[in-house]
């Protein structure tokens, strides 16, 4: 048994004392498996280190009445200049184990071949992970500490790790920390959430996960990467790693994954859609979104998602067959509207995706929700963002939303000057609720796409002025939006021309 009683841990930093654990206590008996959920930096790894004995608590007691492993799959215990074999020999000596037997096991499990006789520093990260895990399995502990075991390696390696741990060592105690709630749900029988230095224990996964979800939703973590995004291309590129750093996105995406694995297509789509609402230009989840909607029989929606995934950079081959299936489901010949892959270059010539249609529908049609059928039609027929925008301008819904355009801005001819308004981005001064966030999100995206890179000031002015879908288009138009989009510009000129004509006739 392991018992923690009133454990406190305080780190002294330059910014003062940081309380990482505040009165943590629990018992873990032989065979019990505890899963700990917590946000980045919540202190999960500290907890593991304290339990392993590598670090001492500031106050409180930790009693171990069984042998406890080091954090599993942890590669740091290697001396990188030594060979794999020397490292095995070292661990065998420290734990007084039979070296030959251990070597045979590691050779078999890690599948490193001759690399075992090379210095560890020449290994790839996957090879290191395999060696680390194999060495961890050499010593038979009563309690295994597992810190993010799913982070590296391929599916086969994971399957073999899971077999070693959860089948062969099913009788042992385990403490597992992970960002992946599904992993913890599957392998644990008790759960805990670490939040604000307090550990709350649960016997029911759904309760634990529910509280964890709320904590993640409460205050979004600041994203490290604060470089301004100045073009649609940059938007597509940064969405990938920014979304990976965003715990809200990752939680929703993982939720989508496990619901997908459980065959809950509608629920899974809900999770992916919620994740994509945060990062509409994150390509890979559009593919997942396509898969679950296809499985759910929503072929048009799946087609739009596949087209979006390709437009944002997923290789066409990866989704082609699935996409053909959705086309067949709608009885449409795939040859007629081919799938288009990502095109570099200015925003106007890039291939549009669903988020582009939705953004344009907001500013041109003042429509918050666009029909799947309309979206698919627009994506099939328009090969570039420019084509898409001018097609949507020609739609009667634009007239309906902005009657008599461009007449209404004639009264307000003066373009906005940089000195006129506040310079700060709306998101910078007020981290408001979710509602405010998502509004700011689409406004930011449309300004990035609409305004050329050179006019940062203009972009910021526009950002601060746009508050609703209704005033977005006039503001953008007067700020010179889409100025280098040829089709759009020629259409707008024609429109202005015809209006002057009709006025002079009157």
């Amino acid at each position: 048994m392991i018992s923690l009683r009133d454990v406190h841990k305080v780190y002294h930093t330059r910014h003062g004392n940081k309380v990482v654990l505040d009165g943590v206590g629990f018992d873990l008996k032989m065979g019990e498996k505890l899963g700990v959920l917590g946000r980045n930096g919540a202190g999960k790894s500290t907890l593991i280190r304290l339990i392993s004995g590598a670090e001492l608590p500031t106050s409180g007691t930790i009693e171990r009445h069984m042998s406890v492993s080091w954090p599993l799959a942890f590669g740091g215990a290697f001396q990188a200049t030594l060979t794999g074999i020397d490292n095995i020999r070292f661990i065998s000596r420290i734990y007084n184990q039979d070296f030959e037997r251990n070597l045979a096991f590691v050779e078999d499990f890690a599948e490193l071949g001759p690399y075992l006789r090379e210095p560890v520093r020449t290994y790839s990260s996957g090879m290191r992970a395999r060696l680390a895990f194999a060495i961890s399995m050499i010593i038979e502990f009563d309690c295994f500490l597992i810190d993010e075991v799913g982070a590296v390696g391929d599916a086969r390696f994971h399957a073999r790790c899971n077999f070693e741990l959860f089948q062969k060592r099913a009788d042992r105690a385990m403490i597992i920390i992970s960002h992946d709630a599904a992993y913890i749900r599957e392998h644990c029988d008790r759960w805990a959430v670490l939040h604000n230095a307090k550990l709350t224990l649960y016997d029911d996964f759904e309760l634990a996960y529910g509280d964890f979800r709320i904590q993640i939703g409460l205050d979004p973590q600041p994203v490290d990467d604060q470089r301004p995004v100045t073009s649609r291309r940059a938007l597509v590129e940064t969405s990938q790693h920014r979304s990976l750093q965003d715990e809200r996105f990752m939680m929703l995406a993982r939720e989508g994954d496990w619901r997908r694995d459980a065959g809950q297509w509608s629920l899974s789509e809900e999770s992916y859609a919620a994740a994509l609402a945060l990062y509409p230009y994150e390509r890979s989840r559009w593919g997942q979104h396509g898969h679950v909607t296809r499985a759910n029989g929503l072929h048009a929606r799946a087609e739009a998602s596949y087209r979006t995934a390709c437009a944002l950079g997923v290789p066409v081959q990866d989704v082609h067959d699935f996409w053909v299936f959705t086309m067949a489901g709608q009885s449409v010949d795939p040859q007629r509207w081919p799938l288009r892959g990502y095109v570099a270059g200015p925003a106007s010539s890039q291939v549009p995706g669903r988020p582009d249609v939705e953004l344009f529908a907001r500013i041109l049609w003042c429509e918050d929700r666009t029909d799947d059928g309309d979206i698919v039609d627009l994506l099939r027929n328009n090969a570039t963002c420019d084509e898409l925008l001018s097609a949507m301008l020609q739609d009667q819904r634009f007239d309906a939303a902005h009657p008599g355009w461009p007449k209404i801005v004639r009264t307000d001819q003066n373009p906005v000057r940089p000195s006129d308004g506040p310079r700060a981005l709306p998101q910078a001064d007020a981290p408001d609720g979710d509602e405010e966030e998502s509004v700011a999100g689409w406004i930011r995206d449309i300004c990035v796409i609409a305004l050329p890179e050179s006019e940062q000031d203009e972009t910021q002015i526009s950002l601060s002025k746009i508050r609703t879908m209704e005033n977005a288009w006039p503001i953008l138009a007067s700020a010179g939006a889409f100025s280098d989009w040829p089709l759009t510009q020629s259409f707008l000129r024609d429109m202005a021309g015809s209006q002057t004509e009709s006025r002079s006739q009157a």
């Binding site: 590598a54 009445h65 030594l82 020397d86 420290i94």
Partner: protein, 267 residues
């Protein structure tokens, strides 16, 4: 369950665990430092031997004034070997824990073990080098065998104790403050000429003798020289002073190690 790693070893097996851990760490240190290429771990003592030989040659060539009628070869051998002994140990212990933080995950390995392994390695290297060169010079007829073998060994061990305590103290301090690393180099460099390696206390003016004898390591070097050369050396030393100094220094070292161990955060 078979072969379960015991959590709290019985007191009787603690010693064997300690030996096993130190042994494993020693081999690991040797492999990391010297590898398996060319001379491999022979470098352990070839390197200090080269140092000592070089200094001996230099001092012989320049006919250094050392203030006694002792042969210069013998003088350089005893002097420089002792410097290597007490000066390399702290040098190797500075930052040793940072380099081995990951080992703290193995509960049988303690902070002190990391330092002890490095100290033992340095002690081994310096001792083998000293012994080998002594035998070599004696065989070549450059040196007479030590007059009192036991006194040489005793002196050598007391210098080693001084070096060990200093090394562990400085090493543990350096884990908390990187200034220690910066200050150690000038300090050790300045202590070198004052340590008795390059002079006999007897040759100094009386006033200087009093000052120099405050430096504990001087007593050790004098003691070794008396063991080697007997009365010819006219050594000045107070073993009680040196040993009580080592005792106090060891206390400080262990306290500092305890403090570091309490706060150590493995990576």
């Amino acid at each position: 369950m078979i072969e379960t790693a015991p959590d709290q070893p019985a007191a009787s097996s603690s010693w064997s665990i300690q030996c096993r851990v130190l042994g494993a760490l020693l081999i690991r240190e040797m492999l990391t430092r010297y590898g398996r290429h060319n001379l491999g771990f022979l470098w352990l003592f070839v390197e200090p031997m080269m140092f000592t030989l070089g200094v001996t040659a230099l001092w012989t060539a320049t006919k250094s004034v050392h203030g006694s009628d002792l042969p210069i070869v013998a003088f350089a051998l005893t002097g420089y070997s002792s410097v290597l002994l007490w000066r390399n140990m702290p040098g190797r212990c500075i930052g040793a824990l940072w380099a081995n933080l990951a080992l703290m995950y193995h509960r049988n390995i303690k902070v002190l073990d990391v330092y002890l392994a490095r100290v033992l390695l340095e002690f081994g290297g310096a001792t083998i080098s000293f012994a080998t060169l002594s035998v070599l010079f004696i065989t070549l007829g450059l040196l007479k065998p030590p007059e009192d073998m036991l006194q040489v060994v005793g002196g050598w061990l007391s210098i080693a104790w001084f070096g060990t305590a200093l090394a562990i103290w400085i090493g543990a301090l350096s884990h908390e403050n990187e200034l220690v690393d910066k200050l150690w180099h000038p300090f050790s460099y300045l202590l070198f000429p004052l340590s008795g390696a390059g002079f006999m206390v007897d040759a100094l003016p009386h006033q200087a003798q009093e000052i120099v004898l405050y430096i504990p390591i001087v007593h050790g070097v004098e003691f070794v020289r008396e063991g080697y050369f007997g009365s010819r050396a006219r050594a000045h030393y107070d073993l009680g002073y040196l040993l009580s100094f080592c005792l106090v220094l060891s206390l400080f070292a262990l306290m500092q190690v305890r403090k570091v161990a309490r706060n150590v955060v493995p990576e």
